[in-house]
Amino acid sequence: MERLTFDLASSSLSDMNRFLHRELADDDRRHVTVLNPDGAHNIAVGLNHPVTVEVQGHAGYYAAGMNKHATVVIHGSAGTGVAENMMSGTVHVKGFASNGAGATAHGGLLVIDGDAGLRCGISLKGGDIVVGGSVGSFSGFMAQAGRMVICGNAGDALGDSLYEAVIYLRGEARSLGADARFEDMSDDDYSALAGLLAQAGLDHDPKSFKRIASARSLYHWNADANQEY
């Protein structure tokens, strides 16, 4: 398999992204290495081919945003909005991720080995997120579909105003958000969770997780609730 290397210390990020957008064949499965990312924004955004991109260092904002088909591995940390609005494919952050990781992802899998910042998986629309560490406050806010696995702890207001996304939490949440509640794990939950953990290369016992989902009491306007939920 042909390997390609882009050294961002000597070539421009725009040239690299332009190459990845325009010069690849539809079934291109080449392996692309990005050297010296040095926190640059928008690395490997908008990919639309089944290439593998390995980022050797820390990525800035929106790395692998809007990803489709591609596998992006970041051997370092990722800034705000990693894999934001991902459609499919896999994004793997070997370090920590900042705020808004996997926000609005429609599909694909985001794996973060370290901690994720605040608002991880906000407005998730069908993607899967596995966080090896802990997540910050307001994670899973208004998440509509998809699954979030949190192997560490969560900050405040986890799963606030959840729709149909499901959260599996191994540690403790400082608080659950409005309308989020703990529910019993079913056999389907255990098998789904085992599959996600295996995909992320983690060997936690699925039995050590709790399920958090929507109580669905916010689905319909309740004039008698006086805005208290």
């Binding site: 040095d38 926190g39 904002y61 940390s77 800034g79 910050g136 406050s137 307001f138």
Partner: protein, 302 residues
């Protein structure tokens, strides 16, 4: 948007290279803050009763042609104060060995347009409008030496683009603060502080936070207590980086709306809004890089 940078060196030999290490950090934050830049550098304290003022003449009629040596002569003549002046373009550090209030009163009276940027025994301060690269070049930031510094690149949102509204802000002696974000209650803070005789130089929201925290320190709070009061009283979005003669301190608002990243090695602690300002630092590949948590206090000792 704005950019924040901070650097504290642990290895004494690196004190000589503080400015050189910092300039790429500041320039790295140009996209976050292209309209103004500034920094405060902390070095060994002046001996005895020594005090220094960082002064800005850009708002005077003479601008960069301000007669600084005339100023030292006049101080000798009027106040019998021996002083030393170290001039860089339209900035100067004026040092002397008397109570600073007397000199500052005289300056307000005789040179009302001369802006006092900082007061203390350890702090020098430079700030101006222009890109970070232009400001760094204008004041030869790369030659600065010291144990730690606090820098800022500004994209103004809450007040006009003028040199006095650039960051860092200072209050009292040897205290400075830079801010990325916007406060929602700066006027409440002003109304709370003004009855205590606290005067504001500008309409900038960051100045309110700076004077609030310095007021608490002056009232006897230690840094951690003052910062906790900051969490309680200051509303809005903020990453604050503060400098004192022997400390750098960092806090982020509970929603972590504004970024910060820290890189620590045996040789230094470096703080920036984004990693791209840290990427050039020596040994960065093996540094401990982390994102400071919201509503936590991070304090590093020089």
């Amino acid at each position: 948007m704005c950019g924040i940078v901070g650097l504290l060196v642990k290895t004494p030999a690196l004190k000589e290279r503080l400015g050189e290490l910092m300039v790429p950090m500041l320039i790295g934050m140009t996209e976050r803050g292209p309209d103004s830049a500034g920094l405060a550098v902390f070095a060994d304290p002046l001996a005895g009763d020594g005090r220094k003022l960082s002064l800005y003449s850009g708002l005077t009629d003479e601008g960069a042609d301000f007669n600084w040596h005339g100023l030292t002569h006049a101080l000798k003549e009027h106040l019998d104060v021996e002083s030393h002046i170290d001039v860089k373009h339209n900035h100067a550090v004026l040092s002397f060995a008397v109570a600073p209030d007397m000199v500052k009163r005289w300056l307000h009276e005789h040179h009302p347009k001369l802006h006092i940027l900082s007061t203390g025994r350890t702090i020098d301060l430079y700030k101006d409008i222009g890109t970070p690269a232009q400001v760094a070049e204008r004041y030869d930031f790369k030659s600065l030496k010291g144990s730690h510094l606090v820098g800022h690149t500004r994209m103004a949102t809450e007040s006009a683009v003028t040199p006095d509204r650039a960051h860092p802000f200072t209050a009292g002696e040897d205290f400075c603060l830079v801010h990325n974000g916007s406060l929602s209650n700066p006027n409440d803070i002003r109304r709370k502080l003004q009855p205590h005789g606290i005067h504001f130089d500008t309409d900038n929201d960051t100045e309110a936070a700076c004077r609030f925290l310095e007021w608490r320190l002056r009232e006897g709070d230690d840094l951690e207590v003052a910062l906790q009061r900051g969490f309680d009283e200051l509303d809005g979005f903020y990453t604050f980086l503060m400098g004192t003669p022997d400390k750098l301190a960092l806090i982020r608002d509970p929603f972590a709306c504004k970024p910060a990243v820290v890189a620590e090695t045996d040789d230094y602690v470096a703080i920036a809004s984004e990693f791209r300002s840290l990427a050039h630092l020596p040994g960065i590949r093996n540094a401990h890089v982390f994102e400071p948590a919201p509503e936590e206090m991070y304090v590093w000792n020089a």
